[in-house]
């Protein structure tokens, strides 16, 4: 779909409509958690462990409680009275809310101070004295999984090792046989370091228990308000919280990226405190708490083996991964997929043999990891296959673009069944790569690079041709804690032809208030400006699993179109009634029904809406509204090809991204401007981990990268000018041919950078390593040479 079907007044799909939410954001009139103040509200602040592993000998609260305004200190034993000191993770593991005797990672919550003012709460935290007995610390996931390692999770009865889980996909023996029969095999160790979403707004909540009504309202930074309500009802039912008496409100959110899917201990402590005290409790993390204690992402140590024939035909792939999950498996993944959709690791290539496995380790680090704008571990999978592809190209002395072209799944092979079990809905990979090569002037750049190499200058060209897998998901396979991953839309058309539409998803900046309105406009012809979109209040919105993993357009977007079509069907009956013709005699164009062959005989959607409340046909229910719960038949498979050029300072190892071309294909587009914005943001969050960001730990489990002083989020000055373009391959099964796009760029960008920067020399040393491959930059050149 290239030209919009609707005019600019209706502003349906394909229009770059300015975002309806932006005027309030730009004017500073957004309403984020910390903008709310409730009458009688108290403040909570948290005492955190300086040790990665220690026994708590004593928590002395006397000095804190003497501070005027400090009302209470809540610790593990307090919560244990209500059996709330432990909670389930999204991955059905368990984690502490507050500890009774041992802390298991640095910055773990130890106890919480409740006070009348935010500043007093902080003074209270400062005055709490905790005596610790430091214990041995396990930071290395490989050592943690080694036989005889001390068992970390002693709370788990009978647990004899530190394996959180093992997962695998594919036929190992078959993949190994095919590797052995390959002409060439490359083996790459790829480490994706621990990183953090570092959203602009940190996490927080106001828990408000109304003692008169017995109703709990929690205003919180959550990407999945409905799921959170159900989880609260399931885990706190024993203290009298019942689902009809729980309301979760997710107001404006300043970025989620997966980090606002989990329920963190702070939320639970605030809820418990509010229920016990009977007053609203506000808790807002500071930046360092956010970086140090909230769920991390990645932390995958992957060994990738890729085999090929001499001519470059890929034959077999094998990946063995050690995943560092910290002290609890708090991944945000669907139940059946503990490593997310990692088995998309065959990527864009027609591989007939493949096997991948993941061993998840417990260590003394914060629990995780979340799916940081990665569609459930797809970033890891894409990095593995794209790095391996470049290593193979280098080994075969073949151009990496040519190698990709040779191995792409061909357009006529779709729908394509991958050897690891996915059915790719659609794709046209060669066209996207060719387009990116044309835009960047690939051949000329390779010639320039060859010239530069002769002079000793370092210039890199990196390609990534990724396949994404988004829109979880079909209910036969996808659930989180048992709740199926459908999503919903509810549309009500008012008598004057305006509409309100509510969804089970929750925007964190993606622009849902605009894009959903445009879908309604496309389907009903009601101007997008007249469609009010609401999400995030569980008392009003239909049930849904929330926004993450690029699922909103594939699921709620589809639900929106189908609900709108139900309304259109009913409106057609009303139009026939008003025009006194049969339904079969009517045709539709956006905004009105007209009589075939007599277009002057027409009724607009607004006229139909008015009639639905004032003059509806006898025997028909009044009103014009519909609900749809959409269960997608398959996931959607957006893709793209990215090429970047970097110049590397031979003296310092400093990497400058000279150009970056991104060609994306997300099927039919609702709002091109918003898609471009998503890609710009995603690309920036791709170069961040590739060149700057990393959280690491020393042998004692002390965090490095726990503040913006040393967690290097790129700024506008580090960000190159993004050159974006697109191809359009509609999803064959989505109601309007769209695919999710929120995460494509974060998934696709890091390997493009890594492939431009990392190149093994004959000695086997890496030329310039960045955060992606080691903790520090190293330069492969003799120290002391003139530079």
């Amino acid at each position: 779909m290239s030209e919009p079907r609707t005019d600019a007044k209706i502003c349906g799909m394909g229009h770059s409509m300015k975002r309806k939410e932006d005027p309030r954001f730009i004017r500073g009139q957004g309403r984020y958690i910390d903008d709310f103040t409730l009458p009688g509200m108290l403040y909570m602040d948290i005492v955190r462990s300086p040790h990665a592993h220690a026994r708590i000998k004593k928590i002395n609260t006397a000095r804190a409680l003497k501070i005027p305004g400090v009302l209470a200190v809540i610790d593990g034993p307090t919560l244990a009275k209500y059996n709330l000191h432990w909670m389930p993770t999204i991955s059905a593991d368990t984690q502490m809310v507050l500890p009774i005797d041992e802390v298991m990672y640095q910055a773990q919550e130890v106890c919480a101070v409740i006070a009348t003012e935010r500043y007093i709460a902080a003074d209270g935290v400062d005055a709490v004295e905790v005596e610790y007995e430091p214990l041995p610390v396990m930071v290395d996931p490989h050592k943690s999984l080694a036989p005889g390692a001390p068992v970390l999770r002693k709370d788990k009865e009978g647990k004899k090792d530190n394996l959180a889980f093992h997962w695998q996909a594919g036929d190992k023996a078959d993949a190994e046989r095919a590797l052995a029969a390959s002409d060439v095999v490359i083996s790459e160790n790829v480490y994706l370091p621990r990183i953090h979403v570092a959203s602009m707004e940190t996490c927080g909540c106001i828990a408000d228990f109304d003692t008169a009504q017995g109703k709990l309202t929690v205003y919180m930074t959550t990407q999945a308000p409905h799921a959170v309500r159900t989880v609260f009802a399931l885990v706190a039912g024993h203290v009298g919280l019942s689902e009809e008496k729980i309301r979760i409100v997710s107001p404006d959110i300043g970025g989620g990226f997966g980090g606002k899917v989990p329920v963190y201990p702070g939320y639970v402590i605030a809820v418990a405190a509010s229920v016990v005290i009977g007053k609203p409790i506000k808790w807002i993390e500071d930046r360092m708490e956010n970086l140090q204690a909230d769920s991390f992402a990645r932390d995958y140590h992957m060994k990738v083996e890729l085999g090929a024939k001499r001519d470059g035909t890929m034959t077999s792939l094998k990946i063995k991964t050690v995943a560092d999950h910290g002290y609890a498996n708090a991944s945000a993944n669907p139940s059946k997929f503990p490593t997310g959709l990692f088995s998309i690791c065959t990527g864009s290539y027609d591989l007939k043999h493949a096997f991948c496995e993941v061993d998840a380790a417990y260590t003394h680090k914060p629990p995780g990891g979340v799916a940081y704008r990665c569609s459930f571990r797809v970033t890891e999978a894409v990095h593995a296959i794209e790095r391996a592809t470049d290593a193979l190209a280098q080994k075969l002395n073949m151009d990496p673009a040519e190698l990709r072209m040779k191995n792409f799944i061909k357009p006529e092979q779709f729908p394509y069944k991958s050897v690891l079990g996915w059915e790719y809905d659609s794709g046209n990979y060669g066209v996207a790569l060719k387009k990116a090569m044309d835009i960047i002037g690939y051949d000329a750049l390779r010639r320039e690079q060859a010239e530069k190499r002769k002079k000793g200058d370092l210039m890199g060209i990196g390609i990534s041709s990724f396949t994404e897998i988004v829109g979880a998901g079909p209910s036969r396979d996808f659930d989180i804690l048992g709740i199926k991953m459908f999503d919903s839309a509810e549309i009500r058309v008012h008598p004057t032809g305006k509409a309100i539409a509510r969804f089970g998803t929750k925007s964190q900046g993606q622009g849902h208030e605009t894009t959903y309105a445009q879908i309604v406009a496309e389907e009903l012809g009601i101007p997008a400006a007249h469609v009010q979109v609401e999400e995030g209040d569980t008392d009003t919105a239909p049930y849904g699993l929330g926004t993450y993993a690029s699922r909103s357009t594939p699921t709620s977007g589809a639900a929106c179109a189908l609900a709108a079509r139900k309304i259109r069907d009913k409106a057609k009956k009303i139009a026939a009634h008003l025009l006194e013709v049969s339904e079969q005699d009517l045709d539709w164009e956006p905004g009105k029904f007209f009589v075939k062959g007599a277009p002057q005989m027409a009724k607009t959607i607004q006229e139909c809406a008015f009639a639905a409340y004032t003059n509806h046909p006898q025997g028909m229910e009044a009103g014009l509204e519909a609900v749809h719960y959409y269960d997608p038949p398959n996931l959607t498979f957006p893709f793209g090809s990215y090429i970047c050029v970097v110049d590397i300072d031979r003296g310092t190892g400093d990497v400058k991204v000279r150009r970056f071309v991104a060609v994306d294909d997300c099927g039919n587009i609702i709002n091109p401007m918003i898609v471009e914005g998503q890609i710009h943001g995603g690309l920036t969050q791709g170069i961040g981990p590739a060149l700057y960001e990393e959280i690491s730990y020393d042998d004692e489990g002390n965090i490095s990268g726990g503040s913006f002083l040393d967690y290097y989020v790129p700024t506008a000055l580090e960000t190159p000018h993004w050159e974006t373009d697109k191809t359009t391959t509609p999803s064959p099964h989505h109601p309007f041919g769209a695919k999710g796009v929120g995460e494509s760029a974060t998934v696709g960008a890091p390997p493009a950078i890594a492939n431009a920067v990392v190149r093994k020399s004959a000695s086997g040393r890496i030329r310039v390593a960045t955060a992606m491959t080691t903790t520090m930059r190293t330069i492969e050149r003799p120290a002391g040479e003139p530079v």
């Binding site: 003074d123 400062d126 003296g651 000055l717 530079v787």
Partner: protein
């Protein structure tokens, strides 16, 4: 990120400020731009019962050349230095450095006095002051001058006595055939230097180096003055071999610690690379080759 309670005092004159410092002694701290002090307070890494704000004290904000000396008032904001024609045309070493200090927001508030007086080896201007042979003027019960080379005593520790306020920075105006440069490597905008080198030199009639000063940023617990390397340069022609040797000598004086910006080995190597680059540029600006 919430500081412990403190009392705030706004001084309207320098004498007011000095009186408040005397009254509260160790419990008081001068607040100028606040770009280092406020984060330290918010992180509760430092705590002072009294802050003495000198932002309203008149007469501490100027950039002027007088009788062969550049005089900069201690309350001069980095942004003012960034916009100064005098700095841009006559003091390229500062013109190089100032746009690389933190970010525009910090430069709008941060002052040169705070930058040099805080005793943070990660700050950029101390090394520059060492290279330029600057002198700091301090006011306590009386006024005194302290050469930059004698100012830095340890991490966050300086020759400034309790009750003293740094009021002015004096830099000898460079004679003809002088050149300076600052070369800095940082991970990203807003970060402190991985390593940085400040070089100021003057060439003689025959093209040989007549005077040289070299300072290193983030190369130890205090700003490092590479005295040996500077001495080595004097009397020599500024050719590539001399530059390479001086850079090596300067790097040998650095004793950085490992952190997220790099290993000790890497940082020492960067001190060498950046010193060589700053030397080359300084020579070029002095009219040499």
């Amino acid at each position: 990120m919430i500081p412990a309670a403190f009392d705030y005092h706004r001084a309207d004159t320098l004498d007011d400020a000095l009186k408040l410092l005397k009254k509260y002694g160790d419990e008081a701290k001068v607040l100028s731009g606040g770009m280092s002090l406020l984060p330290m307070l918010k992180l509760r890494l430092a705590s002072f019962a009294h802050l003495v704000d000198i932002n309203r004290v008149p007469g501490l904000d100027y950039i002027k050349e007088e009788k062969g000396t550049l005089r900069i008032g201690a309350m001069t904001r980095q942004a003012a230095l960034e916009r100064s024609d005098l700095i841009r045309t006559q003091y390229p070493i500062l013109a190089d450095a100032v746009p690389l200090i933190a970010d525009p927001l910090v430069r709008n508030r941060g002052t040169i006095g705070g930058n040099v007086a805080n005793g943070d080896p990660g700050n950029d201007q101390p090394a520059i002051m060492l290279a330029l042979g600057a002198t700091f003027v301090a006011r306590g019960s009386k006024e005194r001058s302290i050469p930059a080379s004698q100012f830095y005593k340890g991490l966050y520790s300086t020759a400034l006595a309790p009750g003293e306020i740094l009021t002015e920075i004096r830099i000898p105006a460079p004679p003809p055939k002088s050149g300076g440069a600052y070369a800095k490597l940082k991970r990203k905008t807003g970060d402190f230097a991985v390593a940085a080198a400040a070089v100021q030199l003057t060439l003689g009639k025959n093209g040989a180096i007549e005077r040289a000063g070299i300072g290193l940023t983030n190369a130890g617990l205090t700003p490092v003055e590479a005295v040996d390397a500077a001495k080595y340069l004097v009397g020599k022609m500024p050719d590539e071999k001399t530059i390479a040797e001086a850079a090596k000598m300067a790097a040998a004086k650095s004793s950085p610690s490992a952190d997220r910006r790099g290993s000790v080995e890497y940082k020492k190597e960067m001190a060498r690379v950046l010193t060589a680059r700053a030397l080359r540029k300084a020579v070029q600006r002095a009219g040499g080759n």
